[in-house]
Symmetry: C2
Subunit: 230 residues, 2 copies
């Protein structure tokens, strides 16, 4: 009975690990948004039955948490920031860019505590920037205030981006001319300030306005650090 007689044994199951699972999920989300991530599709992309995944995650939410943590690796500064302001500003901009690369991140941002290893590393690096500059409570307040800002700002920016993509018009153009509903609403005269804003407002690019708001908030944090801790 030579080797040639015996049939090749059935292929052993594809080896799997969280890394591969998360990578597949991220790829799907990058291509088609969070809604395109289903356990079945993730599994299919790995040539595996859907139930295989439950050895590595116990719920779909778990998968989302892993995806967020995966992307948070992109948020660590490349080199040690010079001061707290640079640290927070850098984090804000990196998060924003990550969310533009992976729009689904905007849907998840702030939705659950980020306790994965990368999330913790980001928190650590950020908090550490305040070492010796402020008491812990103040440092935490600073970090939380700034991240609340950029979470909200990024969500709004992505929301607008999607709306624009869906209508094919910039929000401003749409309000100004093409959106019949909006035109009608503004024409009622019930929203004079809004109408003026739509009509006379300058169209600034999103990055600039993100940075402008961020600078205000960072200024506020600076003032808060200077003030005596309450």
């Amino acid at each position: 009975m030579t080797v040639w007689d015996r049939p090749e044994p059935p292929t052993r199951p594809v080896p799997l690990d969280r890394e591969r699972i998360v990578a597949a999920a991220v790829a799907l989300a990058d291509e088609g948004g969070l809604a395109a991530v289903s356990l079945r599709k993730v599994a299919a992309r790995l040539d595996v039955g859907p139930m295989r995944l439950y050895g590595y995650i116990s719920t779909k939410e778990d998968l989302f948490d892993l995806m967020v943590d995966e992307v948070q690796a992109e948020l660590l500064p490349e080199e040690r920031p010079g001061d707290w302001r640079e640290a927070l500003s850098g984090l804000a901009h990196r998060t924003r860019r990550a969310a533009l690369r992976h729009e689904w991140l905007a849907d998840l941002l702030g939705g659950r505590p980020a306790l994965g290893p990368n999330g913790l590393a980001v928190a650590e690096a950020t908090l550490a920037a305040f070492d010796g500059l402020a008491d812990i409570d103040t440092a935490m307040r600073a970090v939380e205030t700034v991240s609340a800002y950029f979470t909200g700002a990024i969500r709004r920016e992505v929301a607008r981006l999607r709306a624009e993509r869906a209508t094919g018009l910039s929000e401003r153009d749409w309000q100004r001319a093409a959106g019949p509903y909006m035109t009608r609403m503004l024409a009622t005269g019930r929203f004079p300030a809004l109408a003026k804003a739509v009509h006379d407002g300058t169209d600034v690019d999103p990055e600039t306005s993100f940075a402008a708001g961020l600078d205000w908030v960072l200024d506020a944090v600076a003032a808060g650090l200077a003030a005596p801790p309450a």
Copy 2:
């Protein structure tokens, strides 16, 4: 042919309107979170077939938009605010309280442009608070910065609340003692600043820390208003 011969005519379909649909959806969401809102359940609660709803909304997203707009009615100030700071601060706190009453709002907050009638009214009232105090671009920047802050802050607060509810422990207690994963991570020594924060940080109640961050941001806006428009 007496009345008794003729069968009673079939009951006319239940009259329906968006108001009733949205109310049913909000009730479901209040009870069981956004996930508990399905078109079938909404329809069932109105004694109606699921497809009936498609006369009033054309997609589930539409329903969410209507729900958000519905709740935004709760965000209008009861009386005309004295100044812009009061206007923004009031809006922030009302939004926070609305999100604590309707936790699902946190999931939707900032997720899509809010263009419903109530959303527009809120925007109008808020923008109007800057009438005569700043050029439109500055006013918009102020409003957007503050609302980015409270969007992010509210999301985080609700996220924590849920996590605490799920584990039965406050985040701090959990990190400090009971969460084996967190304990292990902090014990690695890779997160000294974080460990210190968890260990030595003061536990402030959420409303206070929301208000504190908000005050910082409002201070920053005040400074931005004072500065000459770039």
